[in-house]
Symmetry: C2
Amino acid sequence: MSNVTISDVARKVGVSESTVSRCLSGFNVRNAEAIRKAIKELGYRPNLVARNLKSGRTGLVALIVPDITNPFFASIVRGAELAAGEDYMIQLINTGEQPEREEWAIQRMMGQVDGIIYVPSQEDSEAMTDVTDRSIPLVFVDRLIKNFRNIDSVLADNLTGGEMATQHLLEHGHTKIAHISGPLTSTPGKERAAGFARALKAHKIKEDSNYFVESDFTVLGGYQAMMSLLSLPTPPTAVFVANNQMTIGALKALKEKAIKTPEKMAIIGFDDHELTDLIDPPLTVISRDAHLQGAIAMQTLLERIKGGNQFPPKRIKVDVRLIVRGSCGSTCRHRETSTSNANKVLSASTRS
Amino acid sequence: MSNVTISDVARKVGVSESTVSRCLSGFNVRNAEAIRKAIKELGYRPNLVARNLKSGRTGLVALIVPDITNPFFASIVRGAELAAGEDYMIQLINTGEQPEREEWAIQRMMGQVDGIIYVPSQEDSEAMTDVTDRSIPLVFVDRLIKNFRNIDSVLADNLTGGEMATQHLLEHGHTKIAHISGPLTSTPGKERAAGFARALKAHKIKEDSNYFVESDFTVLGGYQAMMSLLSLPTPPTAVFVANNQMTIGALKALKEKAIKTPEKMAIIGFDDHELTDLIDPPLTVISRDAHLQGAIAMQTLLERIKGGNQFPPKRIKVDVRLIVRGSCGSTCRHRETSTSNANKVLSASTRS
DNA sequence: TTGTAAGCGTTATCAG
DNA sequence: CTGATAACGCTTACAA
């Protein structure tokens, strides 16, 4: 905490506080040189808190995510930070998917930050009533809350993703296909499951409720889900796992039971990782540009902070793509397909 | 930004601002009920910035790390956040290992936060002159800056870690052992390399400069380093890689060249990951409790914020341990060893 | 217990 | 261009 204030500088130079302030803001003042010298000598540093009180902005954006330890969210955060540039700093909060913690975070952030980027755990959360009341800028990333349909969101094309994943397994001749899904109360959990169902339907395969396990997006959850699938009288021959963490758990279960992939069990995950290339066999996944998703979210938030409600709510969906490796079996027609070619272009990913 | 202030509430109830303020602080006031009601109706939320200006504290702690995308740093951050509880929020900054960015971050944080937890990229950085000048609480994690020997730090026992890793390779009969090191200008880079050298020396093996590649802690760096080792006339038969990212790169190189592990090349990494279990073969690593390291750092910082300079600088080292999997060859005497048994106990990990 | 008033450090306004 | 003065929203002596 810097205890030397602007008035110390002013006194030392023999000018008024306003002059020093103006000098700092880049205006032409008479004793500019002397002032700069005094600032250095005294080690003066403007108190940003005071400045913020005056200006009404904090230069802070809250990023509320389930778990920064999940590389996917880490990438979101990184992307958002880069998009923020030097104007806004990131205030990070991990919620551990706990709604109470989310509510607490939202409450605490209001009035402390200029905007919030939020990954809610539940679509029906009530955590945010206050947020819209005070109309503090907010953007949902990756997931959203149902009752707030008029708020900006930057999701992935989960429906297509789930469909592509399942389709990929179907193309390898599987018919006994299971889905380890995330919580159906969450956006990606619900949408990816819907994609799964849609692909099955398109191939006239009727859903077997035994082959649908709703889990919780955690490693342990994925492990348990796979274990329960393996203990079925007739286990599936292929499984689509709805996120990266559960996929790790599922793979651990397969390894523990010494089930050969893809021979005895084909597996496709959602979200990529630097290491998925190196596991045995390399993991086939549906992926997307998390960095980009975070960047778009930040960009949208900043527009909202600047422009207020000048423009209607944005509902952006980032493209997903299939990355074929070894975990679903050998060669396939396509190596890598995407829902569109313009994945890297910010504007091109905007829909609806 | 909440535009309804404490005076709006006061006016509505017909009391003074101070009364409302006191009510908020938990004091007994006459119209407490009416005040609470008015607060709810108006949707009043205290402006924390104003509060901070008065109190001189921000409730913010800056966490300056190279890259949150590296799961190791993510764990550090998570551990720190948990240790902070509800009193302090985390302000996150990624530096990308760029000293200029670190300097900028430090400058910007001062006067905006109550303390800083910092992972500097270089031991000889000048980024922090101002920090000590103003005596804003600071704690180094994982790495430190040389010229600031009287500042708290929470490192890992890198020397022992490097030694254990190398020792482990030696015990498998290797003599042509290489080290892909981090930058020798960074604390862990230097110390792990020192551990490597010490273990070789203890076994009377003289260092071959061809077998020592200084890299940069990145995936690409690790890849290139391994490639260069493989192109040697007589490549090493084992390699100790100094961090997780470079290990991924090194493994990619091995895979690309179809070099069998551990038969043709044994490999041991530094820092564990949920997926290292699943790669082929499972990766043997030196590991430590990053969560704990972050937690200790935060705890130390908070003590410093509260207690000022009541106590001498702490230099804490967290224990490392060897996790034996398959990448260094078959069975070995020990499955898991640690530099001490009390790794989980905060106080027990404190040294010097 | 309550209200009044001063002040946290800065910047914006306004007259000079 | 400059300097006094008034805010920004809140807390806290101080006096009642």
